[in-house]
């Protein structure tokens, strides 16, 4: 993975609205507020992506907003590779970032923890810590999953580990 985020990512992240409520899933009332902010940030992010023709994921959550799942895809050499991803919002959220899993790639790459959790760049954690609680799920996707995929998918395709779904 790259040492730092590229300029495009940075610009994008700046466009995603920052969150204000500091609350985890355990906090009843506050979580509701937080969840609303999360959703609004996600909507904004998706709209931005659609506008720039760079839509790359879909996402949905359970009713409580504790478990999130969706599809993400990456186009490499005119082939679209789609993966399912999922994550649970940790109890210490938003102090700790959610751990995004891609189960179908489990064991296929070194940049992954057991259980399909992706290994994030060294810059991610300090950045998240610094920006907590202003960063949310949208930021985690933008700064975590997106760069991981951009770095890993071409490599995986190149080694033949991943085949395009016909």
């Amino acid at each position: 993975m790259a040492d730092s985020w590229d300029a495009g990512t940075k610009q994008t992240v700046q466009k995603i609205p920052l969150l204000t409520v500091r609350a985890g899933p355990r906090d009843k009332e506050e979580w509701g507020k937080r969840l609303k902010e999360e959703l609004q940030a996600l909507i904004k992010y998706i709209q931005l992506n659609k506008a720039s023709d760079s839509d790359w994921f879909t996402i949905t959550s359970n009713k409580e907003g504790t478990h999130w799942s969706g599809k993400c895809w990456y186009v490499h050499e005119l082939q679209k590779y789609t993966f399912d991803f999922q994550f649970d919002v940790p109890a210490t959220y938003p102090a700790v970032a959610p751990e995004i899993e891609i189960p179908e790639l489990d064991g296929k790459t070194a940049k992954m923890y057991r259980g399909g959790k992706i290994c994030l760049t060294v810059h991610f954690k300090p950045l998240w810590a610094k920006n907590s609680p202003h960063f949310g799920i949208a930021h985690a996707l933008c700064l975590g999953l997106a760069p991981w995929m951009a770095a890993e998918i071409p490599h995986l395709v190149g080694t033949g580990v991943v085949q395009p779904k016909t």
Binding site: K33, K36, Q40, I43, I46, D53, D55, T60, S61
Partner: protein, 842 residues
Amino acid sequence: MDEFSLDDLQAALQSAQEEKSTVRLSERNVVELVSKLKGLGLLGDDLLHSINGREYLTAAHLCGEIKDAVAQAGGRIPLVDLPAQLGVDLVHCERQADVIVRKSNGGVLLEQGELITLAYFDGLAAEANEMLQEAGVIPLGDLARRFNLGADLLMSAIAPRMGTVIHGRLEGQLLYTSAYIARIKAKVRGALRAASAPVTIPNMLRELDLENLSTGSTTISAIVVELLAAGSIKGQLRGGGTTWTPAIYALSQQGAVRSFYQQNGYIGYDTVAKLGISSGRSYLETAFPDGLALDTAFVSADLLHSLEAASEDALASATFCDVGPLLPSVLTPTDVTTLLQKCSTVQTAEKAKSGPGAGSLLAGTCLVSAALLEQNSQGGGPEAASAAKLSIDALGEQILEWYPDMEEAGHRGRLAQAIASQLRPAAVAEYEKALAAVFVAGAEARRRQREALSRSLDDAYQRWQLYGHGAELLGQDEATSATLARHLIRSVGQEAVDCLLRYQQVDVQKDAGQEPADAPSSKEAATAPLTAAERSALINQLPKDTQQSSSAAVDKLNGGSTTEFQEALEHAAEDAGLRLRRLDKKAERGLVHAHRKALEAQLEAAIEPASALSLVVPMLFAKVHGSELGAPPLCDNNMFSIGRLLNFRGSKPASTAEPQKKQPGRRPTKPGGCVVGAKLLTNEPQSLVGKYVRVWDNELERYELAEVVQLTEKEVSDAEDSGIESGSGSDSDQEDEEEEVQLQRRKAGRAPTKAGGCAEGAKLSSQELVGRRVAVYWASDRRYYTGTVAVYNGKKKRHVIQYDDGDQEKLDMSTEIWRLEGLALGLGIVFAPSRRGVWHAS
């Protein structure tokens, strides 16, 4: 945020995801796509692309675009503009333009690379019409230039529209309106009507600004002819239609000639030529058949009649007449002679030898009656002879004196001379007769005059001797006697010499046989002193034998010696045949007495003290010494010395006393006034230098403080130096200033650093530091501030530092930490210290 429920938001998220994202095809892909479609034959061959390669377009579309472009440009557009406007290659544009022209059936033209529609020509014609109505005339060339069209094309466009769109006439290459022609006609008519002298048509056109007309002069002459025929102008067009002579001009010409001729009785040919008639003589002969044609002028018969009348008159009254003034001045002498030949009276007078009708023609133009000539030769001779003027010129002048009206008479005023030449023989004879009689007269008068002059010479000589004796009495006093001698020679001596010279002059005049011209006035002239120039003139007239001695006497006039002058005078008198009498005692006493009486009488009349004094002194002198003194008037000093000689007591003359003038300025008092200083002065004079001393000033009457600068005792007052005098008023000011700076220092919390000084700066003396750049360390801020040393107060050992930030401070540089900065910027920029400088906390 609260208005949305979670469900709403989740639904919104879902819908946001379901929305179609904007799809973008890359240019590369599109190009590939199109080429593939072409390859498949799905697109026709007429697919074109724009110059920048971003657009595809069909030929039909381009066709429509070109049509639009033409319409938008007003029906006319250059083909080369199309590519830039449409973004399509020129080749395609040209091809489509051809198609358009072919399809339009003449509605659109392709001319010289331009697409032009018929509508455009309509508009052009309308515009041209507007211009035409405004200007009256337009050359087609101008139009073509203006619309940037070929002349042929323009012609083809305009010709069919004449009368419909364009209202005017098209002739050759010119487009004009009938109003324009009318206007030209009016202008020409006006100009020709206004002309009172012949005008050339081209000049007139130039003045009317019509010369650049494309219609040319043929049209103009046609217009003139037309106007003539219509009777609106009167005159003649000559010289092949280039010169216009107005009828009024010819009329006034004839009128002028006629009136001049009738008024003056003649007219010169040059006058006629000036009036514009070239062949004057023939013209006049036909116009005035009764006149006489001479070489230079045409003369009427009336003139001849008046001439005859004048001559008859002159002959009858035995005078003369000059026909010159009667005749016009333009006539030459030959003309006059021919004219007189035609005059019958003159002819007969010339023929007659004598009698009342006889006369002669003298000096060309003058008829002098024989009677007049006779009278003159009888009566005028003796008079002319007495004045000894026998030359023809002199005689002529004499005749002019008798007949002043003759001066201008005759050809170039020669009548008088002509008469004189006739009179001369008679005059010469008369003169010789008269000469003898004249010679005897005048001898008696001369004798009387000579006697009077010798008497006055004697008188002057006596006075000379008298005053000479008086002057000898003053022999002890060098200066006075010299002055008196000089005065004596100037006054009495001069008189004597003048008398002598006049006496001799009378003799000389007798020798020359001339009557002394100033005989009646010689009485007064004898007393008036002669000028040096007159004297030398007189001497020159004297005969050789006496000339030398007389000039010697005159020379002695300028000398100072009485004896020399007396000798010279006596010698000159001897040469002139006179004997000067010596003065005896008795005669001298009588003279002195008479002189005293005269002086007393003058003294009574004298008012001015000085003149009174000059009268009193010789009077007293005469009384004391029995001798007379000829003293110059207003000669104070001499008077006084004479007074001394006379031993006047108690009257100290004021003017001789030398005023003890007070010398202005300071003068040190004589006996040096300092006890302590005296010691120094005597023992160690050098030690006084540099010391301050108080010096008494006589003028100011007080002591002045001064510094001894040099041993030469030159003083320099330095009283204003503030650093020296204690207790001066300016000191308190300085203390105020210092207090203020102290206050500022406390505000900043600045503690002055002790034990300071500067290694390099220490080498410089305190005074040398002034004007230098320094940096002063401020411990509170832990930094240096730069500034300039403005002033050094030697008494308090303080430097005034002018900081660069505008602050100012008085410092004891020995207790500060500071260093020298770069070179001084010069004293000129040291600002006047401001008492309330702005404080900069930094």
